[in-house]
């Protein structure tokens, strides 16, 4: 009987818990996690800074008003609830009570008002200015109630408030006006507080004991900058650090194949995207037929396989299949006969086409694959790999024929497709680096900018995507993952699909050390 019971228990536990869960014991408190990041911290201002390291820090120390869960639905965070007026222009937020800043002070509506006003002041150069420009006025009604009125309807407003880059809560008067450097971080409300920064060496954070949500398991987080990816991975293998970000694909491949032991990974599946963009203003790609010929000549699977060790997925649109923003519309497919026919119609005369890419990425590999594929239909391609800053300038001024480009994932289709709306000056491009400008497309985007109804938005964006694919100013190639790798004693560490920590999906506040 006892044996039977034991068997039943074992069997039961196997059924209930997947094997991985069964192997992981209860989280333990304490210890230090050292994370190697790829860039050095530059500026201790959460509302201004922009590098990836500064984003990691923001996710430890600061919080936005709202959160987004793993499915993309908007959730309460520092604001517990909210109402929207009938005309869609007035938002009332009810703040969570008892939220403490790292300096011990309670967070109130005045603090949130300060942070938004700071962001909206152009003198401060805040990152969120463009995101929050719809805001007309912020009013602290009482200690826990905040009213925000918008200049016009903005279907993205709540989504923006979930983006910690656009907005983080900081205490009133904790940052001076103007672009002066703060000598320390302002206090945040997040699960970790700032301890010290030794430039070139480390940034140290400590568990915040008064955090309102699930408190962190580890006592300390140490960030070290190791710019070179190979050196970063070596430091992980030697045990100098516990977790590293942006692990090169070849190492991940070896971990998967079991050639490297003692190291696990967390995958952010659609952290990046790769695409091929045409300069549609100038010769030769002002010719739509030539663009479509190329679209039909590309074997995306082969390009992704060559450049990402089979770890990336191909893409047709800016959102992956399965997303509510993926639409079933006619898409140029790999078809060499069609490509050849289109090429003939386009009047291509055998000239060499220059393909631009950024140095230090996989553009060389992708570019070589594209070069070989286009050769099959008789198109000559020359690769032009530029250093980051030079490429940026060339893109802005439209000094390229076509280019390999990347991007991050989008929270909503509006920013994803708004990029292709007309811009005034083709020699000084901001978002629309392709220089694409089409009246019909523009009109659709303008409608989408003020539409809040989900079904109507879907219908609008279906037309947008169809038009975008038909004109093909840009060809989506694939979604690229990003990998955190960590030593076996790090447990509970996860990342979301974009490669952020995010409280709903884990990150360093849910990670613990088992040793």
């Amino acid at each position: 009987m006892k044996r039977l019971l034991t068997l039943a228990l074992i069997f039961g536990s196997l059924v209930i818990n997947p094997p991985l869960e069964a192997a992981s014991p209860q989280p333990k408190r304490g210890g230090t996690i050292t994370l190697a990041v790829s860039k050095e911290l530059a500026l201790m201002n959460p509302l201004v800074n922009t590098s990836s390291t500064e984003s990691r820090i923001r996710e430890l120390m600061f919080e936005p008003l709202l959160g987004r869960d793993t499915k993309g639905a908007i959730q309460p965070r520092l604001a517990e609830s909210w109402e929207v007026s009938k005309d869609g222009k007035l938002y009332t937020f009810h703040l969570r009570k008892g939220v403490k800043f790292h300096n011990g002070k309670e967070m109130t509506a005045e603090d949130i008002k300060f942070a938004i006003d700071y962001t909206l002041n152009p003198k401060n150069g805040a990152y969120g200015l463009a995101d929050l420009e719809a805001v007309e006025k912020v009013e602290a009604v009482d200690k826990y109630t905040l009213k925000i009125s918008l200049k016009k309807i903005n279907p993205l407003f709540l989504t923006v408030l979930t983006d910690i880059r656009a907005f983080s809560a900081i205490p009133k008067e904790s940052l001076p006006e103007g672009m002066r450097k703060p000598s320390t971080f302002p206090p945040g409300t997040g699960p970790f507080k700032f301890v010290e920064w030794k430039p070139g060496q480390r940034v140290v954070f400590e568990r915040f004991g008064d955090y309102w949500g699930d408190k962190a398991f580890v006592d300390r987080v140490v960030m070290r900058e190791i710019g070179d990816a190979t050196v970063r991975f070596t430091a992980l293998q030697s045990g100098d650090v516990d977790i590293i970000e942006r692990t090169p694909y070849e190492w991940v491949q070896q971990i998967i194949e079991g050639k490297i032991k003692g190291i696990g990974f967390a995958k952010a599946s659609i952290a990046g995207a790769r695409n091929l963009e045409f300069n549609v203003v100038d010769q030769p790609f002002n010719n739509k037929k030539l663009r479509l010929a190329i679209a039909h000549a590309l074997d995306k699977q082969e390009i992704m396989q060559a450049a990402y060790f089979g770890l990336a997925e191909t893409a047709d649109q800016r959102f992956p299949k399965g997303s509510i923003w993926y639409f079933d519309v006619p898409t140029p497919k790999y078809d060499l006969n069609k490509a050849r026919a289109l090429l003939k119609e386009s009047g291509y005369n055998g000239e060499t086409l220059e393909l631009m890419g950024n140095r230090g990425e996989v553009a060389e590999v992708e570019g070589a694959a594209i070069q070989a594929q286009l050769k099959k239909i008789g198109v000559k391609v020359e690769l032009k790999i530029l250093e980051r800053a030079s490429a940026l300038e060339a893109r802005r001024q439209g000094k390229f024929m076509f280019k390999l480009a990347g991007g991050s994932d989008f929270p909503d289709p509006l920013p994803a497709y708004e990029e292709y709306a007309c811009e005034p000056d083709p020699k000084n491009r901001r978002l629309n680096e392709a220089g694409y400008c089409d009246k019909e497309y523009d009109a659709l985007i303008r409608k989408a900018e003020v539409e809040v109804d989900l079904e109507k938005r879907k219908a609008l964006f279906k037309q947008v995507v169809a038009k975008w694919l038909d004109d093909s100013p840009n060809i989506s190639l694939g979604f690229t993952p990003r990998f955190f790798t960590f030593r076996d004693h790090v447990k509970g560490f996860t990342t979301n699909t974009s490669g952020d920590f995010q409280p709903f999906s884990g990150g360093l506040s849910r990670a613990w050390i088992d040793k």
Binding site: E40, A42, L43, T50, S51, S52, P122, G125, L129, A130, M179, R180, K181, K198, P199, G200, Q201, R224, E225, I226, G227, D228, V231, T234, A235, Q237, S238, G239, D240, N358, G360, E361, L386, E387, R388, A389, S390, A391, L392, E393, A394, R396, A405, G406, G407, S408, E419, N428, R430, L431, E433
Partner: protein, 321 residues
Amino acid sequence: MILRYVVRRLLQLIPVLVLVSLAVFLLVRAIPGDPVLVMLGIDPDARSRISEEQYRALQHQIGLDQPIYVQYLNWADKIIHGDFGLSLASRRPIFEIIFERYPATLYLAVTALLVGIVIAVPAGVIAAIRQNTRLDYAAMAFALGGVAMPDFWLALMLIVLFSLKLGWLPAIGYASPLENPLLFLQHAMLPALVMGTELAAPLTRYVRAEMLEQLRQDYVRTAWAKGLPARMVIVKHALRNSLIAAVTVVGLQTARLLGGATIIETVFSWPGVGRLLIDGIYARDYPIVQGAVLLIAMTYVFINLIVDIFYKWLDPRIKLE
């Protein structure tokens, strides 16, 4: 006499620094790329989301909208008054940023220098007095190998051996010797060994060649003849006179080491000036690059001055003119 010489040399420094400052100022601007965009570009691919007005405002704020000669004169004027300006990325004073990093470079340079001398001088001397023996061949093989070996390759091999396989030493990182000397040595060991080898390789050859030369001189034969002990003859007579050439090599190498070993600092994640310079170039952080290069140039000139004075001490016949 020496004082007058030093003052004159210091005055000669002025045109050198003017030329260096002009060169770096123009060169860093000759690299394509717009620092305003880099400042705002989040990742290499992020499209700049700012408006034209914001762009112009930022450009004006960092003074990049002025003609290039005005920019140079403004910068030079500030430098004369001891103000190196602010970093574009972090908006902190350049002086503060560089001198935050300088100690790390200095400590590593001194350690590497010691390692290099400790290896090279005995190796060179032994190779010379045991010319054409196995010891000599071994020393020369080391010297040739050391010169030929790329430093980053040696660095990676040492990391693989001592950090990954044996686990004896940390692969990366830094600790201040003033705070924790033992930890400093652990961290400095591998980079110092790489840089020391680089220094020791040519130095061994110089010491050996000069020693061979000196050992053939009459005064050495006399010293042997009058029955001086071998140690006296070799160390006091021959070695001291062989060191002139070595001092030149050491001087030039020291200047190089103090300028920050960019590659080694990057591989070992050492928080020195070399890594700062590389990061500054990538970020188009003009003031950082200008400040760092100017500092490195000054170091070069100063070290050369010190080397010249050192000559005089080694060989009183040399006139400082």
